[in-house]
Symmetry: C2
Subunit: 222 residues, 2 copies
């Protein structure tokens, strides 16, 4: 089973690596990182790079795709662009088509989510609706063979759910124990619904600054 | 503030990227991935590579270190080896010295944990004790400026705790909301204490196979 994770300049590392570290433990699974062009892609902060070993053209028929989010994908939403076009091409042949965080915007740009209930990062729900999907607030949304996860860390929960669908609950439970996923966050502010309003506003401001900084990094402007 | 994450062939991606995606959001923080020699390091499955932008020698005085685990570090536990020697050199000058999963074995090899309470992946507690530390079963263990996390995913909880110590609770809460960390795992089998005995045995067998496979990958044997 080939599981493809398409990355790009300005993706969010944890969106990709959370699911990677779950799904790479599935018996018989091969996880491949791919991109429009092979080579290192930097994350949205540009502080680290992850290697795409294959180009998208070299991954024509993955069984599963996991599309990560990241501020960098705002410039990739043209349906004729490389990533959405690849998603549209491979989706009919996948067993599962999935996304984490704003990766769902790329699924939507590819036409996969037209009228389909899906999720994304809480700050991108309006954008997801503009692209034709029907945003819902669940952390992991499964509709047919399309599974979408909420922001960043939700990819771990999604990947464990997906592992259960692919290989059964015992394997999923074993992977959860293997990565010692017994979460114990220090606060209870991890969702839009639970966080106080002033915290949400603080983060919205920070995210806007992050978008601007990421744009600067990606365009080389200072 | 410079936060250094030393990586090596056969590290666990999520051990490093969980904390990275939390700590890279700290205002004013620069996160650097480093290794004995610059360049791409492959994870324990070898299915993906992450770039070390700097050599350890080029990171002589980090403010914070986060040492990830991974089956590859079993061959790095010689106190005179590059990673333990670097840890021993930089530790006196850090504000925080931290680890995720079996990264604590490297801290122990460096002499940082002699007689100190610490944690590690549940399957490595005996090994941690052999190296002079005092294993405890908490998910995040803070003793002075040394903070250790349990297996793999625990690095996210640790990094949020660390973010709070460094920049205060509001910043930590904002980061938690930013990465939408409101975990909802599909099972309740994520710790040694919660998992049924037969599941633990299944995972112990899988981990032993993974160790052997990782050894093969690292040595080039087939």
């Amino acid at each position: 089973m080939q599981i493809a994770i398409p990355i790009y300049e300005g993706f969010t590392a944890l969106d990709a690596i959370g699911p990677y570290d779950v799904l790479s433990r599935l018996p018989g699974a091969e996880v491949v990182f791919c991109a429009e062009e092979r080579g290192e892609k930097r994350t949205e902060s540009a502080m680290v790079g992850i290697t795409a070993d294959l180009s998208l053209d070299e991954v024509p028929s993955p069984d599963v795709i996991v599309v990560p989010g990241g501020t960098g994908n705002r410039r990739l939403l043209d349906p004729e662009g490389g990533v959405p076009r690849w998603i549209a091409q491979v989706h009919p042949g996948t067993t599962w088509t999935t996304s984490v965080c704003t990766g769902s915007l790329l699924l939507a740009a590819a036409g996969v989510l037209d009228g389909v209930e899906a999720t994304t990062h809480w700050a991108a729900r309006d954008r997801l609706a503009e692209l034709g999907a029907v945003p819902v607030t669940e952390r992991v949304v499964e509709r047919g063979k399309v599974m979408t996860a909420a922001g960043v860390s939700a990819g771990i929960d999604m990947a464990l759910t997906l592992a259960g669908r692919i290989a059964g609950d015992v394997v999923s439970q074993a992977i959860q124990l293997g990565i010692e996923y017994d979460p114990d966050p220090p606060h209870d502010t991890g969702s839009l619904e639970k966080a106080p309003r002033e915290l949400v506003e603080l983060v919205e401001t920070a995210l806007a600054q992050e978008d601007a900084r990421s744009d600067e990094l990606l365009t080389g402007a200072t």
